[in-house]
Amino acid sequence: MNSATAFLVGPTAADSRVSRLDRVAYAGGMTGSSSRDTPTDAALMHRYRDGDAAAFETLYRRHNDRLYRYLLRLCRNEHTAEDLYQEVWGRVVKARHRYRPTAKFTTWLFRIAHNCFVDSVRRNRRFSAQSADPAEILDPGESPEQLTETSLARRRLLTALGDLPEEQRDVFLLYEEAALSLDEIASITGVNRETAKSRLRYANKKLRVALAEPRIATTDGILK
C-alpha cells in the first residue's frame, strides 16, 4: 500500500462488531480505570519513568494504532504522518519525568499529537506551502467493478473525511479514534465545548451526505 492510498483503503472483510466493542473498551476501559489484572495507563507511565521499558511497550501497544490513524487522516500524507508519529512518541518519552496523571493518558497523548500537527502545519505554511493533492486520496488499485457497495461507501466516507475543513476533521478524529468526550476535545483543540460540538455536528452531517449519495464512478477509477 503506498502513501497515496494508505488512508483511504479499509479492510475488505472487517469484523465490525469486534471493532465497535474494541473502541468502547478503549474509551472507558483499561485506559481510564484500574482493574486487578490490567494496570492503568498512568501506572504504566510511572513504571516506565522508573525504568521499566516493558511497561512502555504495553502502554505503546494500547495506543499506537489509534494515534497513527489519527495522524494519518489528519495529515492526509503518510510520510508527514510517520514523522509526526515519531515526534509525538519522542515527546512522550522525554516528558516521562514530568508526567502527572491529572487527566486521562489518552487525552494527554492526543493533546501532544494535536500540538505537533498544529506546529507542523504552521512550519509548512511558512516555508514550503505544502498542500494536499486531491488525486492522492484516490486508490487506483481497484476498478469500480471490483468494489462492493459497502467498500464504495467506505471510500466515499474517507474521501469526504479528507475533504472536511481541518478543524472539523480534527474534532471528528479525536471523537472517533481517540474516543474522547466533547469536553476533552474542546480542551485539546483550544475551543469551548459548543464550538467543538458544532464542528462535530457539521462533520457528521457532511459525512452522512457522502454516505447517502453515491458518487459516479468513471472509467478511470476516479470517483466524482
Binding site: 494508505a6 479499509g10 479492510p11 465490525s16 471493532s19 465497535r20 474509551a27 472507558g28 516506565y48 525504568g51 521499566d52 521499558a53 512502555f56 511497550e57 505503546y60 499506537n64 494504532d65 497513527y68 490513524r69 487522516r73 510517520e82 508519529y85 515519531q86 512518541w89 519522542g90 515527546r91 518519552v93 522525554k94 514530568r98 493533546r111 501532544i112 494535536h114 500540538n115 505537533c116 506546529d119 504552521r122 512550519r123 516555508f127 467506505r154 471510500r155 466516507l157 471523537y175 472517533e176 479514534e177 474516543a179 474522547l180 468526550s181 466533547l182 474542546a186 480542551s187 485539546i188 483543540t189 483550544g190 469551548n192 460540538k197 462535530l200 452531517k205 459525512l207 452522512r208 454516505l211
Partner: protein, 182 residues
Amino acid sequence: MNERITDPDDRSQGDDVVSSHYQDASRESVPNHLDDAVLERAAAEVARDRWQFRFHPWLRPLAVAATVTLSLAVLLEVMSSAPDDDQIIEDFSSAATDASERMRALGETTAASRPPGNPTAASGPGAIDALSAQRYCSDSAIADAERWWTCILALREEGRLEEADAELQRMRTDFPDFSPRP
C-alpha cells in the same frame, strides 16, 4: 460506557451510522519500522537513565575533587614561575598591538564580503536552527507554560516569527501537552 455516547444532545440520528462505517473502514496498523523505532528510542532513554543513576552518586564529588586539584596545581605553577613586572608590561603591550592589527584586518575582510541590502538578516528554515541556541523569553517567562506562551505571542506580534518558532520548539519539549485557553 463512555459518557459521550450516552449524551443525546450531542448526537443526531445517523451519526451512529457514520461512526459505524468509519470504524469499519479505519483499521490501519502502524508500520513495523515505526514500532521498532519508537520502542528502541524508549528503551535507549531508560538505559541512559540507568547509566546516569549508577554513576551519579560519586560523579559529582569526583568532579569537585578534580577541579580543586587542578586549580591548586595551576596556582602553584603560576606562583613558582612568575615573571618580573617589566617583562609583564612588555608582553602585554606586544599582545595588545597584535590584537589591534588582527581586529582591523578582520573588519576589512567582513566589510568586503558583505552583500548589499540587509546583510545581517537570516531567513528560511535554516534560520531557526541558527536561532535555536539563543533565548528570546526571560527565565521567569519560561518557568510557566502560560507566561511562555504569552512571550511567544508577543514575539509573533512583533513580527519575529522565527524567534517565536524557536521558543515554541523549546516550549513543546518542556510542556508538550500545553494548549492555550480558548
